[in-house]
Amino acid sequence: MQGTSFLSLAIWVPIVAGFAVLTTGSDRHATVARVVALVGALLGFVVTLPLYAGFDPRLSGFQFVQLKPWIEAFNVHYHLGIDGISLLLILLNSFTTVLVVIAGWQVIQERVAQYMAAFLFLSGFMNGVFSALDGLLFYVFFEATLIPMFVIIGIWGGPNRVYAAVKFFLYTFLGSVLALIALIYLYNVSGGSFALADWYALPLPLDAQILIFIAFFAAFAVKVPMWPVHTWLPDAHVEAPTGGSVVLAAIMLKLGGYGFLRLSLPIVPDGSQYMAGFVIALSLIAVVYIGLVALVQSDMKKLIAYSSISHMGFVTLGIFIFNAQGIEGAVIQMISHGFVSGALFLCVGVLYDRLHSRQISDYGGVVNRMPVFAALFMLFAMANSGLPGTSGFVGEFLVVLGSVKANFWYAFAAATTLVFGAAYTLWMYKRVIFGAVANTHVAHLQDINLREFLVLGLLAIVVLWMGLYPAPFAEVLHVAVDDLIAHVMQGKLSAP
């Protein structure tokens, strides 16, 4: 099982499927494009299942490793492998791609082939990021994700899509070019190697570690996004089509958190510890301040976007308190947020497709017309506010638990999110769903059809499963997280 190249399949099956979808050509063959895309996405998900089945959670180090020379001139290798953290994110990614393809089935009527192909490419690239063990390979996949996302927002987005697309691209590109410099610097000082394992073992003086940390931070903080470099996210979310928002929130934001775990912490552990206070401060600002900002939003998508930033603050907080609960909580929070925010964006998409408005004030009393939808939406809103029994609770609880160990006041500030999160989510829910039927448009709403029910239902199952029985998700993490903590705590300073 370990010998077969399922990781390569997880990357290349969606990409090849994307090209196949593109060849179906114009919108006259839209149905063919949709079917090919669905088959591709399903295949892409199926090939990731053996990864979970064959993964041995007791082993430390990377599994399913593949190592082939790629660019000899720079000693770059096509080096893949996963640990528990990447395993979960790959599964999340491939699963979400299937949902996105189904969700865009009827909504997207223009340039269908290109839409579907862009998501499949994106899925392949992101699996590449999550499984790359070579610094340059990581960067190549990391950057390549920008192209399809730029096109998705720009073509199928809302009225202000061009502004949002360009802002998204330039913001994230600016962050990542600095990381590129750090990668090349590491290549030079490690004597010409891009292998992450070599960099993990490489001793570095503290000032170099801090500079490298800052360079990586520029890339990953923008991606997460952390306060104050978060401003691209609400714009991108509001303008992106539903599928774009789902992928953006569910997976692309995780590239940042994953980057911290895979690059920043192990490569520059002392630099990370040195800068931890700063990162924690930014994370807490995100949790509290952005939580308050979310409260006053009148646009549903914007509200969920700010809620995402606030939840991502939890992730970075968990990572930088350097204990097992914190990091495990952060990873679980990433996965859970992937499902929950994806589901919330889909819910908003369901409403938007019917009324073409995302303003909270245009709705009210939706439950009278769409009871099934209201029930599912309720579950996701509860999960977003961190209700026990849903997936949202597990991660938040672990992070708060971890931060009490580090510092009581961290935990105190972080725990306010349980109040704010509940406030903004449930208040929005109340205004949209409950009350009397607000206007004639709402009065003519149709409840969700089978396709929408399938998508939201699947997500609901996962959200409940993660909340009630998180063990299958958590147990694959233990060894990876423990190894990471041990490595970070040991440090690897060299004389300046």
Partner: protein, 484 residues
């Protein structure tokens, strides 16, 4: 030194010279409607050249004409790329030139003469031979820019090009004479030897004076700030087919000029420090001015001209490392630049038709709706120029940044990447026009079969060399290592 030296390193040049004469004479007997015969002969002579280059390339440098001419691996590789580029240029330019009365015998003769000049430059081992090759190339190019006699813009561009070019040639020649005064020789290998032995060093004011003029000459030839004034005007004023030519193959020859003069003749460690500073200033200024000015352009040709200036800044960044690693990065960057620029200008020619120049940015609006395939190719080209993987442009930037960082110029590398973010803006704008906007021009795009195939190959190369960059990178590295 041997008395009878082998002539074979110069076989491609000799063959091309013969071929130009044949083309010139044959063209006299060809009527206007059969001009395609001249075109065929031109392409055939270039193909012949390619075969000769492939057959007569040796890894070890071989000198001939009393050491004035060298056949080494770098010259072989560059000549090969030059010939292939010219073939592609001619193929892209054919429909455009035919529709505008440029499809004449002189055009082909001038292109071939310019090619000959470039090939001589690439193989020169003597400052005067280098200069001769440069002049042959430049004089042919001036004439090509002015080929559209009734166009005032083109004539103005040619005039400007000629005056500034003559000034730059003068500077280069003046620098060479200084160097001759300081060292007593013009032969590149001897120069390197004399300076390397320390007989004439950086304390020699005449030598340093000469070096400054030589760097200025190189700066003009590559079009880097502050010697960049001609670039936008010539790119804009010349007929697009000629712009395609000017912006591609001569840059490869310009790279050879850089290597022969700075890496070989004046490459001793004591002198590297001297020209490193000059190159740093020129490179950083080019990145800043090129990228910032390109943002406000509305004409695609001018925008690409400023983008060229910034790319040449990157090439200089590679060169300023001063070692084989740096020069091979610069060479790789140059080859990639030529590949992407061929595609960009080729697309501009492809969208132009009789009586319509697709040289405004707005002419690309909605290209995705008119032709998804060409829009996709242009998208790849633009992202390659930005330096986004998985296109080949990323590896070019990577190689250059690696060489800059390996000599410790971290600040310069940071400036370079920050200004490539600025550059990303105007490349993205073209993508935006093609993908997000509705088309203004709805005429069907019907390129000829050969252009269609070549353009597709061009676009595919940008992506394929991005997925498998190793062969091209290794070729550049190996050829520079074997020649320095």
């Amino acid at each position: 030194m041997q008395f009878i030296q082998p002539l074979w390193p110069a076989f491609p040049e000799l063959f091309l010279l013969l071929a130009v004469c044949v083309v010139l004479i044959a063209d006299l007997f060809v009527s206007d409607e059969n001009r395609i015969v001249t075109y065929g002969l031109t392409q055939a002579s270039l193909i012949g050249c390619v075969f000769l280059i492939l057959a007569w390339s040796r890894p070890e440098p071989v000198y001939t004409f009393s050491g004035m001419f060298v056949g080494d691996l770098m010259s072989g590789v560059l000549k090969l790329f030059i010939c292939l580029t010219i073939m592609l240029v001619l193929a892209y330019a054919r429909p455009y030139a035919a529709a505008r009365g440029l499809f004449r015998g002189e055009f082909f003769a001038l292109v071939l003469f310019a090619t000959l000049g470039m090939m001589v430059m690439v193989s020169a081992n003597h400052l005067l031979v280098l200069y001769l090759g440069l002049e042959l190339m430049m004089l042919s190019t001036y004439a090509m820019v002015a080929l559209q006699r009734d166009s005032a813009v083109a004539t103005e561009a040619a005039m400007k090009y000629f005056v500034l070019g003559a000034l730059a040639s003068g500077m280069l020649l003046y620098g060479m004479s200084m160097i001759y005064g300081a060292t007593g020789t013009l032969e590149i290998t001897e120069l390197a030897q004399i300076i390397g032995e320390g007989a004439v060093g950086p304390r020699n004011a005449v030598l340093i004076f000469g070096l400054v003029f030589i760097v200025a000459g190189i700066g003009f030839e590559l079009g880097v700030v502050p010697f960049h004034m001609w670039v936008p005007d010539v790119y804009h004023g010349a007929p697009s087919a000629v712009t395609l030519f000017v912006s591609t193959a001569p840059k490869l020859a310009g790279f050879a000029l850089l290597v022969r003069l700075l890496a070989q003749a004046l490459g001793a460690d004591v002198l590297v420090i001297e020209w490193q500073q000059m190159l740093t200033v020129m490179a950083v200024l080019s990145l800043v001015i090129g990228n910032v000015t390109a943002i406000v352009q509305t004409n695609l040709k001018r925008m690409l001209a400023y983008s060229t200036i910034s790319h040449m800044g990157f090439v200089l960044l590679g060169a300023l490392a001063g070692d084989a690693n740096g020069f091979s990065a610069a060479m790789f960057y140059m080859v990639v630049y030529v590949l992407t620029n061929l595609g960009a200008f080729g697309m501009l020619l492809l969208l132009s038709r009789s009586g319509f120049e697709a040289d405004r940015l707005d002419d690309f609006k909605g290209l995705n709706q008119r032709s998804p395939w060409y829009a996709f190719i242009m998208l790849l080209i633009m992202f390659s120029m930005t330096g986004i993987p998985p296109t080949v442009g990323f590896y070019a930037k990577l190689a250059v940044l690696q060489s800059v960082l390996s000599v410790g110029f971290i600040g310069v590398a940071v400036v370079a990447v920050l200004f490539s973010v600025v550059g990303a803006f105007y490349y993205l704008r073209l993508v935006k026009l093609m993908y997000f906007d509705a088309p203004q021009d709805t005429a069907p795009i019907t390129p000829d079969g050969d252009v269609k195939v070549l353009m597709s190959l061009n676009g595919a190369a940008v992506l394929l060399f991005g997925i498998v960059p190793q062969p091209l990178m290794a070729l550049c590295l190996y050829s520079i290592q074997a020649s320095l």
